[in-house]
């Protein structure tokens, strides 16, 4: 178990190490954001494609069938 003095030292060390850690954190966040942007772009590319007529044809056929039955 670390005593209070050790804990104080640890906090001190963390504070001195901070600028670098922050930079790394920012960099990591930036990279994750970039990946996120690309992921959405990949998905949205397909979302924005025109829907093939087949989809609506199938649905229309099913609809008229259920309307009669």
């Amino acid at each position: 178990m670390p005593d209070e003095r050790d804990a104080g030292k640890m906090i001190e060390q963390r504070q001195t190490a901070r600028p670098k850690a922050d930079t790394n954190l920012d960099e990591a966040r930036l990279r994750q954001q970039a990946i996120g942007v690309k992921l959405r772009q990949m998905f949205d590319e397909v979302v924005n494609e025109p829907v093939p007529d087949e989809f609506l044809d199938i649905l229309r056929r099913a609809d008229s069938k259920s309307g009669q039955g």
Partner: protein
């Protein structure tokens, strides 16, 4: 609680509203199917099957609840039940990963996207799926958990593992493409994201 909501087949008007909403979801179903099935033709078959399953099951859908999550769950179940029918799980995961890897046949596709797809293809299926639902599909963790039939905490940990793994793949070169190192992959993704945000 659910009883005060009409189901989607209760009257013609509600049914028509359901149908309009379903039609609006087709592009999203296609996009999700593409991430599961890889090959665009197989993905559209999957999306059509899911659309028809949703239509046939409209009486069990409570209007006003999350239809996007509901249809995604149907699509996902459809995909995995088809998979189980014809293949053993492990073989197929490999197969699906490979298909995702080679699914990029458009030479004009932006390089960064191409690399992202390859990186995604290297993730375990359940991590890839969780990341896509949350990171690309815009679902909350709770919704993604519902779609995948697992706990919210499981989705959270899959997404965070997927994010770390994907970044590592893109940075550290667990793959190479035309001799390009993977740190170049990360760089092109960074550059691309920067370009996209500056265009906006």
């Amino acid at each position: 609680m659910a009883e005060d909501r009409p189901n989607a087949a209760s009257d013609p008007e509600t049914e028509a509203a359901f149908k309009r909403e379903l039609i609006g979801l087709i592009p999203h179903l296609r996009a999700f199917a593409r991430t599961l099935a890889g090959d665009p033709a197989a993905a559209d078959d999957l999306a059509q099957d899911a659309m028809m399953k949703a239509w046939d099951a409209r009486a069990s859908y409570q209007m006003g609840t999350n239809m996007k999550a509901w249809t995604f769950m149907i699509l996902r179940n459809q995909f995995y039940s088809e998979k189980r029918r014809s293949w053993r799980q492990s073989q197929l995961d490999q197969e699906a990963a490979e298909r995702t890897l080679v699914a990029v046949d458009d030479p004009s596709a932006p390089v960064a996207l191409d690399e992202l797809r390859q990186g995604l293809g290297m993730l375990p299926a359940e991590q890839r799926e969780a990341l896509i639902l949350v990171g690309a599909g815009g679902f909350a963790y709770e919704e993604a958990a519902e779609i995948c039939g697992c706990a919210v905490g499981t989705v959270k940990s899959r997404v965070s593992r997927a994010r770390r793994a994907l970044q590592a793949i893109l940075e550290e070169g667990s793959y190479d493409r035309d001799g390009a190192s993977a740190s170049e992959a990360m760089n092109s993704i960074l550059a691309d994201a920067e370009r996209l945000s500056s265009v906006r």
